[in-house]
């Protein structure tokens, strides 16, 4: 489907609206799977690499571990900016997200749209890592301009 131009897609859509729906569902299934794979990897990473450090004191401590140590481990750099509303929402900005670093961005090529699928696996890693440190959260990611990416973490329940 990657080779099909917009015209081909439009025609195919008219011929079989049903098929398009299937494709959409298939994409969703792929994203779900990527996220779950990331989740398991995130869990594993924390199990392995949090052993040697002191016990976490609070949620912010955990988020900092994520932004510094874990990000370094996975992406070989740290998160550039961390913002929080102090009510369980954290926004992590990476100005030069590694997986995007070598993507080509031809004009009109919808590079941002094409880069989006690469965010699911990292989202899963974050969610899995947080889960094994006792934080249940939803994680969403977006990119406005390559190679930047932002990750929004909303903790569902925080430890007392």
């Amino acid at each position: 489907s990657r080779a099909a131009g917009p015209v081909a897609v439009a025609v195919a859509g008219e011929v079989a609206g049903e098929k398009k729906m299937d494709e959409e569902e298939e994409r969703e299934a792929v994203f779900y799977r990527l996220e779950m794979l990331g989740y398991r990897v995130g869990q594993g990473l924390v199990e392995r690499f949090s052993l040697v450090r002191p016990r976490f004191t609070d949620t912010l401590d955990i988020i900092k571990f994520l932004c510094k140590d874990l990000w370094m481990l996975v992406f070989r750099k740290q998160i550039d900016n961390l913002k929080t509303n102090h009510r369980g929402v954290y926004v992590l900005t990476d100005n030069s997200f590694r997986p995007f670093a070598k993507m080509s961005t031809e004009p009109g090529g919808n590079a941002v749209g094409r880069a989006q699928p690469f965010l699911w696996f990292p989202c899963g890693i974050i969610r899995g890592a947080l889960a094994s440190m006792g934080i249940n959260a939803t994680v969403q990611a977006e990119t406005a301009e390559l190679p930047g990416a932002t990750f929004q973490i909303k903790s569902i329940t925080t430890k007392p």
Binding site: R33, L37, V41, G44, L45, R48, V74, R76
Partner: protein, 192 residues
Amino acid sequence: MASAKAARLGEEVWKSRVDKVNAELVTLTYGTMVAQLCKDYESDYLEVNKQLDKMGYNIGLRLIEDYLAKSNTMKRCVNFKDTAEMISKVGFKIFLNITPTITSWTSDNKQFSLIFEENPLADFVELPDDGRAQDELWYSNMFCGVLRGALEMVQMQVEAHFISDVLRGNDTTEMRISLIRYIDDEMPVDDD
């Protein structure tokens, strides 16, 4: 290229021209993926082997370009023995920092084995304990596909498969590689 020279080249490229990534991240990611495949194909391990090989093949088709760019070897391998040296001492070295041992050549010099003393994919791995995975799953089968895909892009059709794996309780992890033929340059049929 002579064996020692290939080893020096591999070492040099690994040291100076390769972006490194955490080994455990690779191990975990690969393991998670294999586990997911086992789930998706409901423990049909023969199918999982096939899928891993196919994924590897698609990686190999593109990885060869990176290999050629990084190793900067402009010269063609003079024979299949030369190719084996480059696979072990340059290819595996620059992408995984290992050099599998080349052994067991057939007398026609068309088949050899790679013995993996180290295998970064398989660290901390245990196969499913269902009585079948030990006999049926080739955990690192992606490697076979990578070699098949990469060599195809440089005009060699090969067949590669594992014949033993320490994960299965064997003494060694051994892959058998056979040269089927050198692919001639062919013109596309309807291109005049």
